[in-house]
Amino acid sequence: MILDGKCPTGPIETSWDRHRFETKLVNPANKRKFKILCVGTGLAGGAAAASLGELGYQVEAFCYQDSARRAHSIAAQGGINAAKNYPNDGDSIYRLFYDTIKGGDFRAREADVWRLAQVSNNIIDQCVAQGVPFARDYAGYLDNRSFGGAQVSRTFYARGQTGQQLLLGAYSALSRQVKAGTVKLYERREMLDLVVVDGVARGITCRNMVTGEIESYWGDAVILATGGYVNVFYLSTNAMGCSVTAAWKAAKKGAYMANPCYTQIHPTCIPQHGEHQSKLTLMSESLRNDGRCWVPKKVDDCEKAPGDIPEEDRDYYLERKYPSFGNLAPRDIASRAAKEQCDDNRGVGPGKRGVYLDYQSAIERVGEDTIRERYGNLFEMYEKITAENAYQQPMRIYPAPHYSMGGLWVDYNCMSNVPGLFVLGEANFSVHGANRLGASALMQGLADGYFVIPYTIAGYLATVKPGEIKDDHAEFKKSAEDVKAQIDQLLSIDGNKTPSELHRELGKVMWEDVGMARSKESLEHALQRIPEIRDDFWNNLKVVGSNEEYNQELENAGRLADFLEFAEVLAKDALHREESCGGHFRTEHQTEDGEAMRNDEDYCYVAAWEFKGAGVEPELHKEPLKFENVKLAVRSYK
């Protein structure tokens, strides 16, 4: 089936304004009759719940943490982009639009990206009004920095904790609505099913993570803002609780999963130290502004202390390969380059999976104090984890799974192919194409939540009767029974493998075969291994405890069950996409000097997969991508 993204036609500059005008409104007096469920309280979900509550809808918001303030948006460090052009350095909405399209390797929808660039400015204003303490200069105006290789300074930041501050801003807006009674918060709830009646999303089924109770909630629309799925790799920079579960439950009820193979591997993470590691820690990309990446030229030197390796025996591989961007090459490129060096057996540190990020020349150039001022908190964090002082010896870094550009398919209104189901933020696929630029994730989450969904959801609600189907409908009962049945099944296997053991196994396969570089062979291997692990899971899993308590093993088992189905679709998507683009690199499709080679002729489309059951071939639906304002070009950072 060919999917229609329902993008406005005509001049792109006015597309969002025209669309807003053409979208139906809900009468203010009628708004309170509609109930909207919002799953996830990160930047997208928190902002959406707060904004919709303020508009007068009845909102119920859900999160698995003990507080809405803990969503993983909080961990973003670097900053948030906006086309304000405060520094007068040539930025514009068009340039942000263009950079985002190009950065995404021409695999995103033009209209969505334009809208994002356009509302980016409102986000900054909104956050300032909420009391977000952005960095300011001595005149009292907002400070900007350049980030992630952008050639203009358009990134707003709040020390190294921009995500935290923006999330706390959204959380405060949400808290205000909770107090006002327009939003009802349900913490420590995990969504375990989407209730669909006659093809329309009508509610969700949740597990109360404290009591184990299975609860039904009805809504006239359901919003999923449940983040990304890179924990499918087991080790990632995501929080421990991040999972594909909510999105996958929707996929199992008919929502299409788009471009799952677009995963971002972040280049500046702290390398793995051992087998028992639970997660990887990211350090801001800004580190590459002053640090130089290198590995020893000779394999024999890898065991030596870095200080003992003379300058001429060091390979500054990014500067060598990309003379004009050097150490500031985009994430996907920098990550792949690091992997190549390690595959060449020239990695450093434990297991030789690491490269050096060296500040020596920067310290010589600007002094240690300046470096401390710029990156002090990151150096501190690095030392806490590794017990190494990065002022005296180079940091060791290695790429780690970080963000998923893919996600549930949505149209221009952020509505999935299941009417009434809206998907926001990282959970949808819409604006980042095949690769996300630094400081764009926060922008998207808040754009969707504050400035897109409040308009577009009205267009849908204006067509439905409020409260038509409530939780007394038979479908809710059935959903609750299904959820309960799966929990009982997980608890009754009583095998000998714990969820994290099995998750680690899956992660290993995904990282080796579906990680930074993929080939037909590796993907086929993964597609053989994933069902094996899945069988192992359903036959040998051991979950201790019961459902009727706070049971973290049970939570993990449930999430892993979904990862095990989803991973197969991810690998299938990667296998089907016979090209390299952005975060998806197929070794068969590269230029002579190892650069990604896109195939615009055959693959300039969104691949949306319809799940048909575990082990059954999913059905591919395509949404062709049209580029009318940007010319398709080879993405070169040489």
């Binding site: 507080s67 204003d125 009391g131 977000v132 929080a239 017990a387």
Partner: protein
């Protein structure tokens, strides 16, 4: 390393808790404290025994979910460090470690080391925001904010809401938590407008949520993994006085 752990086990708010002893036989100094507990839990699960429940999420010291009192100190007492960022190299082979939950009337125990921190939510809901509407706000640069004020607000805003201040306070007071938000917003022009109402409402909410009163022990600052300064409590008091005499 080999360690002996004394861990607080409690099945719910009404259960009488107790310390139980576990061995951590093979601990790597590079592991984080929570990864060490993961290993203990894996071993328990393998034996079919109930695992130790503890809250955690981001494991990079920013979400504020992890909450353990280690050897009598919230987050283990290392300066500016959450439990998830505490590494095992801080301990020695053969150490005995006491692991207990946040204990306060305002934080009922859910299970073992996990507690219910809804009280902190109530404080924010009472007024920890500016009442601005989505959309329709002024340009971000319309009101210049001095760098000093911006930095001061940021210092306060670093609070991660973990509750270590409450757990370490001899009075179980949430004053540092409350003051961080009051001070952040009071110093910014956007928040100043509602400063009087906010400080009254937030301190009242803290009282209603069963938190104790501040008697200037300053334990909270020592325990805070983000180093939030008690000067913000002084600021809150100042704001309170202003609101009182206005």
């Amino acid at each position: 390393m080999k360690l002996k752990l004394h861990v607080w086990r409690q099945n719910g708010p009404n259960d009488k808790g107790r310390l139980e002893t576990y061995e951590a036989p093979d601990v790597s100094p590079d592991q984080s404290f929570l990864e060490m507990l993961d290993d203990v839990n894996q071993a328990l699960a393998k034996e079919g025994r109930d695992i130790i429940a503890f809250d955690h999420d981001c494991r990079e010291g920013i979400c504020g979910m992890c909450s353990q009192v280690i050897n009598g100190k919230a987050h283990g007492g290392q300066e500016r460090t959450t439990v998830c960022q505490l590494h095992m190299r801080e301990f020695n082979d053969g150490d005995e470690i006491y692991i207990e939950p946040w204990k306060a009337k305002a934080f009922p125990i859910i299970k073992d080391l996990a507690v219910d921190r809804t009280g902190l939510e109530k404080i924010i809901q009472a007024g920890g925001y500016t009442s601005c509407h989505t959309g329709g706000v002024a340009d971000g640069n319309a009101l210049p904010i001095g760098k000093e004020a911006a930095d001061y607000a940021m210092d306060a805003a670093e609070c991660i809401g973990c509750g270590a201040c409450v757990a370490s306070c001899p009075n179980s007071s949430a004053m540092l938590f409350t003051s961080a938000k009051v001070a952040q917003l009071a110093v910014l022009p956007q928040g100043k407008v509602e400063a009087h109402r906010r400080v009254m409402a937030m301190t009242e909410a803290a009282k209603e949520s069963d938190f104790g009163n501040c008697t200037n022990h300053y334990e909270c600052q020592a325990a805070c993994p983000k180093g939030i300064d008690v000067k913000f409590i002084a600021k809150l008091n100042r704001e309170y006085l202003k609101a009182l005499i206005k």
